[in-house]
């Protein structure tokens, strides 16, 4: 046991007994995911920061409602996303997404030829532009799934809908994305 990082459940247990440092550690584990999720939900970086902060503070206050055996990650995401959804209604924006420059990207070790790299870059731009042309709901569900890397259960918590609804919405959104890409041969 000694030397091993505490599990999320152990941190929550400590936080329930007033250990702020333990809660800070838990928040640190999820701050990036929560911020990005909030950003995709409410579409503004400042609002996303405030929503994440508000969500984590609320979660601390609601620690008594955390059920043993529940996933802390999903529970926290649900509370942060709730704060983000409230801010989205007020702000009505959508998250602006851009491509990082190639040198900032993690490399998989393979060194593609310049032609392949250019082609892949164009395809990425085209795909991102196609996502931007989707309606808000489609865009949100695709970016949550792929860019925030949320599971269907987590997306259900974030969007406050049943898991079955997530599955069908995601499937429809993917279909529409495919048709947007296929219907725009002149793009890129």
């Amino acid at each position: 046991m000694e030397g091993r990082p505490l599990t999320d459940a152990q941190l929550i247990d400590a936080a329930r007994h007033g250990d702020v440092a333990a809660y800070e550690e838990l928040v640190r584990r999820y701050e990036e995911l929560a911020f990005r999720t909030a950003y995709l939900v409410c579409g503004d970086a400042d609002e996303a920061r405030d929503a994440a902060q508000e969500g984590f503070l609320r979660a601390y206050g609601a620690m008594g409602r955390f059920r043993a055996g529940a996933e802390p990650r999903t529970w926290l995401l649900r509370i942060v996303a709730n704060a983000a959804r409230n801010r989205r209604r007020a702000a009505g924006r959508r998250a602006g997404l851009a491509l990082r420059s190639a040198r900032d990207r993690p490399s998989d070790g393979a060194a593609p030829s310049p032609e392949v790299a250019v082609l892949a870059g164009e395809q990425r731009s085209e795909l991102l532009a196609a996502i931007d042309r989707l309606g808000d709901e489609d865009r949100r569900i695709i970016t949550l799934r792929w860019f925030a890397d949320l599971s269907e259960r987590e997306m259900a918590a974030v969007l406050d809908v049943p898991a079955g609804t997530v599955k069908s919405r995601l499937s429809r959104a993917m279909e529409r994305l495919r048709s947007v890409i296929g219907g725009s041969p002149d793009h890129g």
Binding site: A9, F35, F56, G61, L99, R100, R124, R178
Partner: protein
């Protein structure tokens, strides 16, 4: 992506691969130092003593250690001396009266989500029983909590004759969950001024709790206490039926509560 993929992607798998690749290349705004800001705010609130959070954690720090120790000692004593264990439910005693809970939380905390009777029946890992007494009718609210294994179903009524409403407008609550849930067990903490009477319902041991305040909590798989924060004032009958533990809360008398329990179908 070592080589260009087929474009445009026509298959689900190809589109999924393209999106996974794109995810590696998308730029998000830099993540702010949220953990630091949250911790600073919590520490400030704690030291200023102006947050409700302080009241909550202060109580837990101040009383939980003593309560936990007492509960543990009394639990062992009670289990040995009285054998007060029903299904997965164990009764413990604690001295004094519990501190006040934040207002407005009682109804929302332990019941789980409101689902309706049909969905509760679909989700529960057991046959959900409903009282067949004409005078109380169908439950007004039905909740499902997916803890413990098989879930917990709570049926809630407003005021009915013989079941006066409490401050939250709740008259009668019937809660059902599977017995012998191992390793997690619901426990019940009974505060001073409360009496526990052993009785029989349907030929099986039952407990009638009345006269004071009592609260439910349960232990997780690691044996840690998890407070359901549901504190009850009033009466509770705890009985067993076909592998289920049933709680009937709010009846004005043991006779009334037993009628409800006996009418469960």
């Amino acid at each position: 992506m070592a080589e260009p993929m087929s474009w445009p992607p026509r298959e689900d798998q190809a589109l999924a691969s393209a999106l996974a690749d794109l995810a590696q290349a998308v730029a998000f705004p830099p993540t702010p130092r949220i953990a630091q800001a949250v911790a600073a705010q919590l520490r400030e609130q704690h030291s200023a003593g102006r947050s409700p959070l302080r009241l909550w954690s202060g109580w837990r720090l101040g009383r939980s250690a003593a309560l936990a120790l007492l509960a543990l000692l009394i639990l062992v004593a009670a289990a040995i001396a009285f054998g007060i264990v029903i299904g997965g439910l164990r009764i413990t005693f604690a001295p004094g009266t519990p501190p006040p809970l934040p207002s407005g939380v009682v109804a929302s905390r332990a019941f789980g989500s409101e689902v309706g009777l049909d969905e509760a029946r679909r989700r529960a890992g057991f046959t959900v029983l409903v009282p067949s007494l004409g005078e109380i009718g169908q439950p007004v609210h039905v909740y499902f909590n997916d803890f413990p294994s098989g879930g917990t179903v709570s049926l809630v009524w407003g005021s009915r004759p013989g079941y006066p409403a409490d401050a939250n407008g709740v008259g009668l609550v019937v809660t059902e969950f599977q017995a012998n849930v191992d390793p997690a067990v619901w426990e019940k903490m009974v505060f001073e001024g409360t009496t526990v009477t052993r009785t029989l319902v349907g030929g099986q041991t039952a407990l009638w709790i009345s006269g004071g305040e009592h609260t439910f909590f349960y232990r997780d798989a690691n044996g840690r206490r998890v407070d359901s924060s549901l504190r009850l004032v009033g009466t509770t009958l705890i009985c067993q039926r076909g592998g289920l533990v049933l709680r009937v809360e709010g009846a004005a008398s043991l006779t009334r509560a037993t009628e409800v329990a006996d009418s469960l179908r």
